[in-house]
């Protein structure tokens, strides 16, 4: 199954026979006090720096989140999207938990965006699916509802089922435009959680063949040497069927691990991308 995301001049296809889709996570003020202050003053200069750093690192798409206290999120998200689209052709993932911000972001965006996100809550789906339909994006959906983030993969699958049926039957959203986030939890909080996430990915692939994404950096929260953990986790998840991740695209170790896994999975014919990346690194060093 292919999920196609686009900007006016570039198309990215997410799928299990495609190179892994690296969605840069950096354009997000959470936990960045200075960035938040700048946003409150309407200053988007940090965004420009982050865009360039993530592209240089190898991002194939960029996540944009402008959620911070005392920031007019809809306005700021629209402004940031316009700015980013003036700098790069990379398609964007519009990220907010605020409905009005998603709407403003989608109105400002040129192309077919990835929308982050909706949950299995009926109330949220009733708000967001019409938006997806109206602007024609693809939607990231999380298998949790107002009562729980289920631990058991089987229960997560039930929620995925509810999401898929609501989106396709009730709102006429094409099934390939649903991307499931199977929920990556920190391994440091519970050593069994990553295995359950991998099982969930596997089950989603087998049952629906849907594309999947997740916030990959979350897995290593609170642990030492996070880069190594992230660079092992993503290839493992790719083997289970993960086709994209919102992740740190500025860290060479992680991006390199992903591209190596692409090659091993047969998604980099004759190793052309791998060899080209090698040459680029040598050229940069000399």
């Amino acid at each position: 199954m292919h999920t196609v995301i686009s900007s006016p001049n570039k198309t990215v296809t997410i799928g299990c026979d495609q190179p892994f889709c690296i969605i840069g996570e950096r354009i997000n003020p959470t936990g960045r006090k200075k960035f938040q202050e700048q946003l409150r003053a309407g200053d988007l200069s940090s965004v420009e720096i982050d865009v360039h750093a993530q592209i240089a690192g190898g991002a194939t798409m960029l996540d944009v989140n402008m959620g911070a206290p005392f920031v007019d999120e809809p306005q700021m998200l629209a402004n940031a999207i316009k700015l980013i689209q003036s700098i790069t052709d990379l398609p964007l993932c519009i990220d907010s938990s605020v409905f009005e911000a998603l709407e403003a972001g989608l109105a400002a965006y040129e192309g077919k965006a990835l929308i982050n996100s909706v949950t299995a809550e009926d109330e949220r789906m009733a708000m967001i699916f019409p938006l997806v339909k109206k602007y024609g994006g693809a939607i990231i959906a999380l298998p949790n509802d107002e009562f729980e983030i289920p631990d058991a993969p089987e229960r997560r699958l039930e929620l995925v089922d509810h999401i898929v049926r609501t989106a396709t039957d009730k709102y006429g959203i094409p099934i390939e435009d649903i991307v499931i986030d199977p929920l990556a939890m920190p391994i440091g909080a519970d050593s069994t959680m990553v295995v359950r996430t991998l099982e969930t990915i596997e089950m989603i692939r087998q049952k629906y063949g849907l594309n999947t994404t997740l916030g990959a950096s979350n897995v290593s929260f609170g642990m030492p040497d996070r880069h190594t953990l992230n660079s092992v986790f993503i290839p493992m998840a790719m083997q289970s069927g993960l086709t994209s991740a919102i992740m740190d695209s500025r860290t060479g170790q992680i991006v390199t691990a992903v591209r190596a896994a692409d090659l091993m999975k047969g998604n980099d014919e004759w190793g052309a991308n791998w060899i080209a990346a090698h040459r680029a690194k040598i050229a940069q060093a000399s």
């Binding site: 959470t30 938040q36 959620g67 206290p69 999120e73 949790n144 983030i149 440091g188 609170g222």
Partner: protein, 221 residues
């Protein structure tokens, strides 16, 4: 084992998160005539304090904090009723919960551990705590401090709703309200009417102690 050896072993076993050993040593100490107070104040609290200090320095990591906290909790369950009988004054009672609409709990749990390590009696209401539940729990447990956690910009507004409900129930003067969570800032805490904000677990403990001391000093005047 001498009493001193039991206390020393307790300190060491909490540090490595060995729950079964901590339970056994606690029971052994009590059976041996070691009171609940020395066990708590000379072994468990200093140990968890050291765990917290190491975490703050970056020498200890999240899993180590969690297992140490869990090891201490097991012993606290035994000691708490005994301590209540002796009438020892606790550092304070801290009521904690993640706000309605939010299911994130790792940060909250880390703060709980640090608070217990500092001698607070922590009552954790869990996640998705509604304003009504906060109010009912304040009436039931009469805490010194209410801590609210939110991880999302969309759930942070629940701080204000909760504080409004606490005020409406006539309980606002009785409790100190602290807020925290990844997207929360000091300015936001001020604007929603909280008494304080802390960016991390260690700061939360220092702030909680300071605010309680201030309030108790005021009460004595």
């Amino acid at each position: 084992m001498t009493h001193e050896e039991i206390l020393k072993s307790l300190y060491e076993e909490v540090m490595v998160g060995n729950g079964p050993a901590v339970l056994e040593l606690t029971n052994q100490g009590l059976a041996d005539g070691l009171g609940p107070e020395p066990i708590l104040f000379e072994a468990l609290i200093p140990s968890l304090e050291e765990v917290g200090a190491r975490f703050e320095r970056g020498d200890y990591f999240v899993p180590e904090m969690l297992i140490a906290g869990r090891a201490m909790s097991g012993a606290l369950d035994i000691l708490r009723p005994l301590l209540a009988e002796t009438g020892v004054e606790t550092v304070g009672t801290f009521l904690m919960g993640t706000v309605k609409g939010d299911v994130h709990d790792i940060g909250k749990n880390l703060v709980n551990i640090m608070l217990e390590g500092a001698g607070f009696h922590v009552i954790d209401l869990g996640v998705q705590v509604s304003p009504e539940k906060f109010v009912a729990a304040i009436e039931e447990y009469k805490p010194d401090i209410v801590g609210m956690s939110a991880f999302l910009t969309t759930t942070m507004p629940m701080f204000k709703v909760n504080i409004h409900n606490i005020t409406k129930a006539g309980l606002r003067e009785q409790v100190i309200v602290l807020v925290g969570g990844a997207p929360v800032t000091r300015e936001y805490a001020d604007a929603c009417g909280a008494d304080g904000y802390a960016a991390d677990a260690a700061t939360a403990v220092r702030l909680a102690k300071k605010l309680i001391a201030g309030r108790r000093a005021l009460a004595k005047v």
